[in-house]
């Protein structure tokens, strides 16, 4: 990732050159867009000294400054007014500081736009064409040399930049950065807030090490726990081995220096296991104890067969990143920030089923849809997912029938429902015990052409779907097809270290692998700036990622569910059947 970003940057810069006000804009065909963001304040200056321009208490200024930075709202409650591209008036709520400089204020690289950091510590230092102490680290120097040098900002020059788009050298910053109508005390508040952004490293980081933890809910299947843990521990061990080897071997040290920089190369990682016992209502107190005893930089992975919400909310409150816990029921939120999930969980399959049926609506001819689901958390999550997407699109609501716990779906029951409602498609959210009833109905002379169910709930039974049903049974499958996973075998073998994948829950092992890969990639991108928000910002700005298990992981600022797709599959005919795609990964 670090390499790809640097290559992209290098390519763009070679193509476009720098934007420099002393030259005609036409000479440099516009393009590489620099935001000369922000702000001032001497390195290390305390937050309290930044409030000098206002008579509000620091907490209030922090709150108001954050609203300006993140929401584009003035302390008066009005939207900040601004202009982009010279003369285009925009509402500050659509052009917030955070949208480009991100939560951490550490900036971003996207396409042809480089947004430099806007945190006080960096703004109030002169910018050189290198990062001190990292002059010979390729990823650092590639980044630094493309940012124009400038002197340190002062409160005055920073205000001029925000208002007029001119930096302390007199250079006009690119027009992608709005010129904001912010004055007087409002400007004081914003500047004071910028001084607090990414001011000191997050908890869990010291000169010698970065501490991580993983949360394990007691009672989870031991094989599942091991499958999640081993790939993550492998990454931790490998990193520590590099740190030790670099101390003993110059060649390894050079390699580590070039890849990671001197600071990250030398740091060791630790991974603690935070075991949660008892009822979910008691987890908060346990997490508080763990965190107080050992603050960590991030939670890696984690696993629960049921709830995760208490961990999610704890992370929100503590501003503690949690990368990719293995859970079926993630917290779904458009605004929460600190937990990145692999997907929207079980529910995503229900949503995919709705989208698939909508995509073939011409075949359904506005006929009735019957949704039969097990009255369990899993059944309800699938049914909810379907219902929400289906109804939101203005379709006639599906006829719904619940199956009480322990009561097997029978052919008689199903046939009665078909006779009564005459549906054109039947969705059955249940385990493999529903297959005999579905098969018997499918062998009748008249039956619906579309039966839909969840492949993950059927689990290995998907390969024993009886032949008469295969042509009519469509299954939601939220992973890459098994026969297309072979290309990742070598990658996984490195982590398996001679063990057989059969010892593990293969899917969970791959989820752990993804976590290990993502934290490694993100840390390499972070230029030794260890801020929890920057970790999440960095992952948010990553390009689409192709790793084992999921067809594609995609990110973007604020996006919190990495795998957004789901195939609809059918089982092929024959004694050695395979899953066959009946939809694209993303169904529209």
């Amino acid at each position: 990732m670090a390499c790809s970003a640097a290559k992209t940057l290098s390519k763009n810069v070679k193509k476009w050159g720098f934007y420099n006000v002393s030259m005609s804009f036409s000479k440099s065909r516009i393009a590489l867009v620099f935001f000369f963001a922000t702000a001032l304040c001497l390195s290390g200056r305390l937050v309290s000294s930044a409030w000098a321009g206002t008579d509000l208490p620091p907490e209030k200024i922090q709150e108001l400054g954050q609203k300006m930075y993140r929401d584009g709202v003035l302390p008066s409650g009005e939207s900040i007014k601004a202009f982009v591209s010279d003369d285009v008036p925009v509402d500050g709520t659509a052009f917030t500081c955070v949208s480009c400089h991100l939560h951490s204020g550490m900036g971003s690289i996207e396409g042809e736009v480089i947004t430099p950091p806007t945190n006080g510590r960096i703004l109030y230092e002169p910018r050189e064409p290198f990062i001190k102490g990292y002059e010979h680290v390729p990823s650092f120097s590639n980044y630094a040399k493309y940012l124009p040098v400038r002197p340190a900002y002062t409160d005055q020059t920073l205000a001029e930049l925000i208002q007029g788009g001119v930096d302390p050298t007199g250079r006009s910053v690119l027009h992608v950065m709005p010129r904001y109508d912010i004055y007087g005390k409002d400007m004081d508040i914003l500047i004071a807030y910028l001084k607090t952004l990414s001011d000191h490293p997050s908890p869990g980081v010291s000169k010698e090490q970065i501490k991580f933890a993983t949360v394990i809910v007691e009672g989870t299947d031991p094989q599942a726990v091991k499958s999640m843990l081993d790939p993550i521990q492998f990454g931790i061990d490998r990193k520590n081995a590099l740190a030790i080897a670099a101390g003993n071997n110059d060649r390894v040290a050079r390699m580590g220096y070039n890849m990671l920089g001197p600071d990250l190369m030398a740091k060791k990682f630790t991974l603690s296991h935070w075991i949660l016992k008892g009822a979910p209502e008691t987890w908060r107190a346990q997490l508080e104890d763990y965190y107080q005893n050992e603050p960590v930089f991030a939670l890696l992975g984690g696993i629960s067969a049921g709830d995760w919400a208490p961990v999610h909310h704890f992370c929100e409150d503590k501003h503690l990143p949690n990368l990719f816990p293995v859970v079926d029921y993630p917290v779904l939120s458009d605004t929460d920030w600190y937990t990145l999930y692999l997907s929207r969980g079980i529910r995503q399959e229900g949503e995919a089923a709705a989208r698939y049926l909508m995509s073939i609506q011409s075949l359904l001819k506005d006929g009735a849809i019957l949704q039969v689901y097990r009255d369990s958390r899993r059944g309800q999550a699938l049914a909810d997912g379907f219902r929400q997407i289906w109804n939101a699109a203005g379709n006639t609501a599906a006829i719904e029938v619940t199956l009480p716990p322990g009561e097997k779906l029978t052919k008689t029951q199903l046939q009665q429902l078909l006779n009564k409602h005459k549906p054109v498609a039947v969705i059955v959210w249940d385990d493999e015990t529903a297959l005999p009833a579905l098969t018997e109905v499918a062998t009748e002379k008249s039956h619906p052409n579309f039966f839909v169910t969840s492949a993950t709930w059927l689990d290995q039974s998907i390969y024993s779907v009886p032949e008469p049903l295969r042509g009519f049974l469509y299954m939601t499958y939220p992973y890459r097809l098994p026969q297309e996973e072979a290309r990742f075998k070598n990658l996984l073998n490195k982590v398996l270290q001679g063990k057989s994948i059969a010892q593990y829950d293969e899917k969970i092992f791959k989820k752990g692998y993804i976590t290990n890969q993502m934290i490694g990639d993100a840390l390499m991108e972070m230029r030794s700036e260890y801020y929890s928000d920057f970790l999440l910002d960095t992952i948010g700005m990553m390009e689409d990622t192709y790793l084992p298990l999921y067809e594609r992981l995609t990110f973007g600022p604020g996006q919190r569910y990495a795998s957004k797709g789901c195939f609809i599959v059918q089982l092929s005919e024959g004694d050695a059947p395979k899953l066959e795609r009946r939809s694209e990964w993303i169904i529209k």
């Binding site: 992209t8 591209s85 010279d86 285009v88 659509a94 042809e112 700005m541 529209k588």
Partner: protein
């Protein structure tokens, strides 16, 4: 340095300050302009209201059609392009009925109709601005048709395409246009 020489220099400098800036610097366009013929694929996309729309049919009309490629959570270029669309609608007033603005997502994974609808509301869009999504394959086909394939959404460029209903050509604008420049380019097409 003598006093008279200093006075002469001061006078010369003052005179210089009164001279106009070189025209090239003052009026240099901030974007590239070129004219193309594109063959639009016959595909069906989905708009912010979940309606399926045939791309060809909404382009081949008597209206001027403007197309850009954006995504809902973009932090840099797309907000500026969209502010340009919103500003154009405002500035054109009633004439905005003669223009159909189309934004096509380059992040079909995330940009559902709900996301796109919320996005348009954020920019206070008026009728006549559609945000379209589709399968990744179809989105790739559209990008390729406009000779604007982005390998990844994080690698995109500020591109705007204006379709002339008169002769069917496309004006390709590469860069971030000021409000005035955008209207000027629309006027050149002749529909307004």
């Amino acid at each position: 340095m003598t006093g008279s020489f200093r006075k002469t220099m001061m006078a010369a400098m003052l005179l210089l300050l009164t001279l106009p800036l070189p025209q090239a610097q003052a009026a240099a366009p901030r974007y590239e302009r070129s004219v193309h013929n594109f063959s639009i694929p016959d595909i069906v996309l989905v708009n912010q209201d979940r309606k399926r729309v045939r791309l060809k049919s909404i382009i081949d009309t008597e209206k001027m059609v403007i197309v850009d490629f954006i995504y809902g959570t973009c932090t840099t270029i797309c907000p500026v392009l969209s502010a340009g669309y919103a500003n154009l609608q405002r500035k054109l007033g009633k004439d905005s009925e003669k223009v159909h603005l189309i934004s096509i997502t380059i992040d079909p994974e995330n940009d559902t109709p709900e996301v796109m609808k919320e996005y348009l509301e954020r920019y206070r869009s008026k009728p006549g601005w559609d945000f379209l999504t589709g399968s990744r394959q179809d989105i790739n086909r559209v990008m390729n048709a406009f000779d604007s394939y982005f390998r990844d959404k994080m690698d995109h460029k500020p591109l705007t395409f204006i379709h002339s209903p008169e002769d069917g050509t496309w004006i390709r604008l590469y860069g971030l246009l000021s409000g005035k420049d955008f209207i000027k380019e629309c006027e050149k097409v002749g529909v307004l």
